[in-house]
Amino acid sequence: MLAAVRAPLQRRYRQWLARRMPASRQQRLTQQRIFILPTRYGLFFLLIAALLFLGGINYENNLIMALSFLMTSLFMIAILHTFRNLAGLLVRAGQLEPGHAGAEGALEILLHADDRHPHLSLWLRWPGGPVEEVSVLPGEEKSVWLRLPLKRRGRVHPGRLHIESRYPLGLLRAWSQLDMAHPALAWPRAAPSEFCPASGGDAEQGLQHTRLAGSDDFQGLRSYQPGDPPRMVDWKAYARGRGLHSKYFADPAEGWLWLDWAMMPGVDPETRLSRLTWWVLQLEQKNQRYGLRLPGAELPPGLGPEQQRQALDLLALYGEEVA
């Protein structure tokens, strides 16, 4: 019943907000963008002032009335100060820290104060996210990383950034809700799969299924030579009396794998992305060079954090419009 009334109202409110404060990566908090209302304590304060007024009338006591008026005036002045604490702050969208869908990501917000006023005890959060508190002194720029839950893969619009301040008296809260045009990025959830959806290291080898269980690209055995590390000795064969042999592995620097979307026919796209994500993380861990082929996109083979980041971003943005 209540929800039936609330939903259209909230939609109206959002539309009104969007018209009043359109999305932008850099916004200054001006009068147009700041709302201000009393807090519960502010209402309590006003109630006490009203009671004192009644008491002053009844006891014909001018001083009690004067105190009531002073409280009322203080409240009015507090409106100015509370507003001032937010006004003039420049809010910019900063960097982003992606995360896997289902976990958390973070977005950076940069707060810049001009050299007029300090902005003390500001509370920032994304809808549904935890609150960060920060103070910005005059002339200072502060960076705040705000965490937010990532519910699905892809570009995640965090909603409106909520900035609130109750400083100085806590009797009023001034707040603003800004659309920072600052989407977060959610990588696909990692889903393990037994077989690596990859096509071979070199062109000659063609298709190759690499076995999962610690195979480490096992290539073959050769007779032991002094200097071989004991880890590489095939102790099982030695125990069976076949002599001392060393296992040798394909050099990761020479061979690479193409993680390929097309290798998983009949699997639904999100699962394919999740498996590819898992394999990107796996290969990165195993120091195995890899490339990534998606419909309409290709990442040349490589290794290292940069490669992983690019691969995951590519997976995250699969099927989304390029920003």
């Binding site: 005036s73 300090p118 509370w123």
Partner: protein, 686 residues
């Protein structure tokens, strides 16, 4: 947006100071248990904050609350009404300090603090009390930014400064509201309990039964004169008259033949004006031509009586006041609040007051069988004197020449009080003399009555006003002389003339208060200070405490012309806009100056300090060059300067401003102790 809460250390001091100050005035008149409770809870809270005590559990809190309820019941017999209510409020407020565990509790405590502060005004209303309340409010308000500023680096004094700035900005708006918001009559009637009834005049007197007259310095009323101030000998503030004597006690009486309507005249009432009042009103102009006219304003302290004080033949401009047949003012209801009223007195009008047979009968009334010796002497002396006037003068001369003494500690008297006093003890204060004199007059057939009121008053030259204290209370007599009407005769003046001319302290040389007054007189500046303060109190009374419906109306009529709700509303809105606009501009647009980060402030402070030592340094030097140039001009300071420079660069580039700021300040302090900038210009003595 819930957060885990702790009272920040920089807010705790203001919180405790504010709550303690808010409750403190109630400890002065509060019961003993309250006086113990409050410091105990403050101490408890401090110990809890320091981790020395655990938070009190629920059981202990319930026990404490129950104890407070019982204590209030025990002290006041009720938990309702202003006295008991305030007591309960303060106690509950003190307990709240103990159970403050969340931000919410701190808010509730602080906002309640404002309420507790306001109750102070139920008991004290002077300018000092108001300043105290303002100061306490400042502390309470300073705690608010404190609890809203969770950062550990915040400075406590900054909260105070902010609170001060905000309150100062709020004051103009408060004044506007105070002047313009319409005063409404009380919504429901409230009675103060009798606990706080005051000392003062009573409606009867029995001279033989009082062996000690207490002298209170408490203020009875103030008088502000417009124009001429009557000389000390003419300052007889008449309160009431005693016409009935039962042998021991003199009391107020209205002759049975005279109706209430004929006894009191309220000018504003629709009832017909009594004949005597008509006669007086008609004779006013003629009396003004014959004698002085005094115009003044009396600010009467609450007396819980309905009689007022004025010089003879008073006419008040207040519709609630009436003139009584014995030439005094009364109010319709008792004075439970301070009241001020304007009076015009015509002393010469006394002779126009007609004497009715009923008045004459009651003014000659004496009980049978008392004071035979005095009666006999009265008859004899009157026969010898021949006229009432000559007889009265002989009696006064006798008081003056025989060994009568003025004392505040007379012996008790037996059955024949007048006989025993006149022919035995001969010691007494004004009541004894007035009683004996009136008795002697009546016994000789001269109509007489006793007047009770105040005599004298201390003139404050700063404000041209008189202060009349309880110790100015006095009793004297009036006798009826054909042709002159009721004539004031003060037999005490015959015995102790200084009592009338110089005030009671002059007549009582052994009074410790007199010593104090003597000291005051020897220290003119102290006297002047006291006069000035009294003037401030008077102005406060006149403009703040007595600002009521009628004064508001007259003020608004002068400003707005026509007073209507719409006009008042417009004036409020316009005034608020005019007052808030500059504050808003100042708050929103004021620049805090460029050097606002802590490091910039530190740099400026250093530059200022070095220049104060006479070093010549240009603006905006990089820190390293500043150190080099300053070191060149002031070699002795070079090591400290170098340390300062290193610490400064470390904190600017190393990013640990918090820790090294303290070090920077320490180096700057060290510099302050170094002698001799610029090659030892400052030569140390010895």
């Amino acid at each position: 947006m819930a957060r885990v809460y702790q009272v920040p250390h920089h807010a705790f001091g203001w919180l405790v100071a504010g709550t303690f100050m808010a409750a403190l005035p109630h400890l002065i008149h509060g019961p003993l248990w309250l006086r113990i409770l409050l410091p105990a809870t403050v101490l408890g809270r401090i110990l809890i904050q320091r981790g020395r005590l655990p938070m009190p559990g629920r059981v202990l809190r319930v026990i404490l609350l129950g104890g407070v309820l019982l204590g209030t019941l025990y002290t006041h017999g009720t938990v309702l009404g202003p006295d008991a209510g305030t007591c309960l409020l303060v106690a509950a407020f003190a307990l709240k300090l103990l159970e403050m565990v969340r931000l919410r509790d701190a808010y509730v405590l602080l906002v309640l603090g404002y309420f507790v502060l306001a109750t102070t005004f139920l008991f004290y209303q002077g300018p000092i009390a108001s300043l105290y309340v303002l100061l306490s409010m400042l502390c309470l308000t300073a705690a608010l930014p404190g609890i809203n500023h969770p950062e550990a680096g915040a400075r406590a004094w900054r909260h105070f400064r902010l609170a001060l700035v905000m309150l100062l900005q709020a004051v103009p708006l408060m004044l506007l509201l105070f002047v313009l918001v319409p005063r409404i009559s009380p919504l429901w009637s409230l009675e103060f309990s009798q606990e706080r009834s005051r000392t003062g005049m009573s409606d009867s007197m029995a001279p033989g039964e009082v062996s000690h007259l207490s002298q209170s310095r408490e203020l009875a009323f103030r008088v502000e004169f417009e124009g001429a101030v009557p000389p000390p000998a003419a300052r007889y503030w008449r309160g009431l008259t005693y016409a009935w004597f039962d042998g021991r006690r003199w009391s107020q009486a209205r002759p049975q033949e005279i109706s209430q309507a004929d006894y009191v005249w309220f000018p504003a009432s629709p009832q017909p004006r009594p004949d005597w009042a008509a006669t007086l009103v008609a004779a006013r102009d003629e009396a003004a031509a014959r004698g002085p006219v005094y115009r003044y304003r009396v600010v009467q302290e609450p007396s819980r009586r309905n009689w007022l004080y004025a010089l003879a033949v008073p006419f008040a401009d207040d519709t609630r006041l009436g003139l009584v047949r014995d030439l005094r003012l009364v109010s319709r209801e008792e004075l439970n609040q301070r009241r001020d009223y304007r009076v015009t007195s015509y002393p010469a009008l006394r002779s126009s007051m007609p004497m009715s047979p009923a008045d004459e009968a009651i003014s000659l009334q004496l009980p049978e069988g008392f004071n035979p010796r005095a009666r006999e002497m009265a008859r004899r002396w009157y026969r010898e004197a021949g006229s009432a006037e000559a007889y009265a003068n002989r009696l006064l001369r006798w008081f003056r020449e025989e060994s009568f003494y003025y004392t505040l500690e007379p012996p008790l008297l037996g059955e024949h009080t007048v006989d025993e006093f006149l022919f035995g003890s001969r010691r007494g204060f004004c009541e004894h003399y007035a009683s004996a004199f009136a008795f002697m007059m009546r016994a000789a057939g001269v109509p007489a009555r006793i007047v009770a009121g105040y005599q004298g008053g201390e003139l404050n030259p700063v404000g041209n006003h008189l202060r009349v204290h309880q110790y100015h209370a006095h009793a004297w007599t009036e006798i009826w002389l054909p042709g002159s009407g009721w004539v004031e005769v003060d037999p005490t003046a015959a015995v102790a003339p200084s009592r009338i001319e110089m005030g009671p302290e002059a007549a009582l040389q052994d009074d410790p208060l007199a010593d104090f007054q003597g000291i005051m007189r020897d220290l003119p500046w102290l006297q002047q200070l006291s006069n000035r303060f009294d003037y401030v109190q008077f102005i406060w009374q006149k403009w703040v405490l007595d600002y009521d419906e009628s004064s508001q109306l007259s003020l608004l009529q002068r400003w707005l012309g026509d007073v209507s709700p719409a006009r008042i509303g417009m004036a409020l809105a316009a005034g608020a806009a005019v007052l808030l606009m500059p504050v808003a501009l100042w708050v929103l647009l004021r620049r805090r100056g460029p050097g606002r980060t802590p490091m910039q402030r530190e740099y400026r402070a250093m530059l200022k300090q070095l220049r104060g030592r006479g070093l010549v340094l240009s603006d905006d030097l990089p820190p390293r060059r500043l150190v080099r140039e300053a070191g060149g001009q002031w070699p002795a300071a070079r090591p400290v300067l170098k340390k300062w420079g290193r610490a400064f660069e470390e904190s600017v580039y190393g990013g640990q401003a918090g820790t090294s700021l303290r070090a920077l300040r320490r180096y700057r302090r060290q510099l302050r102790w170094l002698r001799g900038a610029r090659g030892g210009q400052h030569v140390s003595p010895g």
